[in-house]
């Protein structure tokens, strides 16, 4: 099977949104997401004759992007599970963070704080505590709905390893959120989404907003697998570049990444 340039361009445009959000979620870096997405198209264009049709064009594009990002991602230290606590402390000591965020909040059309958007933001940060292969497999499967076979192609590994990464990554994330997230566990240590709701959207009742989310309504069932699936549903519904609170959340993500870079440098 051959791929011509107009078809490649059309396929790229269809995959571009998912590709860019995936890169953002694995790098936590808006500029890198933009650059890698662009570089992916350039490399695909240059190597279009190498496309044999063994996988879908979308899978091939994700594999190219993954290849571009891989070495850089491997060179980065993994984040700790309590990234939220560390970044909250840093934000409380940094007057610029709230000043910038409040300006975005008041002036941007994409800065209306929503709890569900913070859930997605939170998962992006916490999933960086997983070993890299587990994080990538989990994102590709649970959020971008690739099959294990496709993920193996994207990550240049085999299906058995992908199954292992998915099983271990999913299990670890379920435990972390079960322990930390106050939305699903009354004893959970982290209330940041409702706290930030009070700062950026004080007219919105946090509890009323929270119960609109299926994951919160089903929390009492204590079914970790089900609650994780619902968390992933929230992830799937949100495009971090086009969502109603995108600019505010991207500002938070940029702040968290810089805090983590400093934190891990010292550690």
């Amino acid at each position: 099977m051959t791929l011509d340039i107009p078809t490649l361009t059309a396929e790229f445009e269809r995959a571009k949104g998912a590709l860019k959000s995936y890169i953002l979620r694995i790098t936590a870096n808006k500029q890198e997401a933009e650059d890698i997405t662009q570089e992916t198209y350039i490399r695909a264009h240059r190597n279009v004759a190498n496309f044999k049709g063994d996988s879908s064009v979308k899978t091939w594009l994700f594999a190219i992007a993954q290849n571009i990002a891989r070495d850089h991602l491997r060179s980065l230290k993994r984040w700790p599970e309590d990234v939220g606590d560390i970044c909250k402390d840093a934000a409380m000591k940094d007057p610029d963070f709230f000043r910038e965020a409040m300006t975005i909040n008041k002036t941007s059309p994409q800065a209306q704080f929503e709890i569900r958007e913070h859930i997605a933001f939170c998962f992006t940060c916490v999933s960086r505590s997983l070993p890299l292969e587990q994080q990538l497999s989990l994102m590709l499967k649970e959020v971008y709905e690739f099959t294990a076979k496709e993920i193996a192609e994207i990550m240049d590994t085999n299906e058995a390893m992908v199954k292992y990464y998915l099983h271990t990554g999913r299990g670890k994330m379920m435990e972390v959120f079960d322990k930390r997230c106050a939305l699903i566990n009354k004893e959970g240590a982290c209330h940041q989404c409702t706290e930030l709701n009070g700062i950026f959207n004080p007219k919105q009742n946090a509890q009323e907003e929270a119960v609109k989310i299926q994951m919160v309504r089903d929390a009492a069932k204590k079914d970790k697998e089900h609650l994780f699936d619902l968390r992933m549903t929230v992830m799937k519904e949100i495009d971090p570049f086009t969502s109603p609170a995108a600019e505010l959340q991207l500002h938070h993500l940029e702040f968290d990444r810089k805090v983590m870079e400093r934190h891990l440098e010292v550690a």
């Binding site: 390893m161 199954k163 998915l166």
Partner: protein, 167 residues
């Protein structure tokens, strides 16, 4: 007919025993060797991943408290288990999806995977300890049998669980 039924029964018993054998220990004056094997319905790569991801052991293996270090050829690992409070080993053999061995001055533990070609793998684990001084400390070393049985059962359960997941 009776001898035929008896023969079939014996063959079935032998086959079951071969699939999931209990740990056995052979002792001599200067050595002790404990072995266990089990049939696992999983891809060898899954079993290999479980055997070589050090930090993941405590999650699935009830006999391991922690393993520090990188399980790769020539690397040093520190194992804390239900048998030993702390013991250091060097990884001496590392043949992906086939054979792994680590050891110290006293002994060598070897894991082997044999792909049966029918979707199953025969997993075997052997630890041989000993040497000239072995008679002096042999009585202080606890039996490994129960721990080996638990290790093999845990590995089988976890690998088959991962294999069975369609997600």
């Amino acid at each position: 007919m009776k001898p035929l039924i008896a023969t079939l029964l014996i063959m079935t018993i032998l086959k079951t025993a071969a699939q999931d054998s209990q740990a056995t220990t052979v002792k001599t004056t200067f050595h002790r060797e404990t072995s266990v094997s089990t049939i696992i319905k999983a891809d060898p790569a899954i079993i290999w991943a479980l055997l070589t991801n050090a930090s993941d052991y405590p999650r699935w293996n009830s006999t391991v408290t922690s393993i520090q270090g990188n399980i790769a050829l020539g690397e040093k690992i520190v194992l804390k288990s239900t048998l030993d409070a702390k013991r250091s080993f060097k990884v001496k053999e590392f043949e992906p999806t086939k054979r792994l061995a680590w050891g110290d001055g006293k002994g060598l533990r070897t894991y082997t995977l044999r792909n049966n070609g029918d979707g199953t793998v025969t997993f075997s684990m052997t630890e041989r300890i000993g040497g000239l001084m072995f008679p002096m400390y042999a009585k202080y070393i606890p039996s490994f049998d129960a721990s080996f049985n638990a290790f093999a059962a845990d590995l089988k359960k976890e690998a088959e669980l991962i294999q069975s997941k369609s997600r």
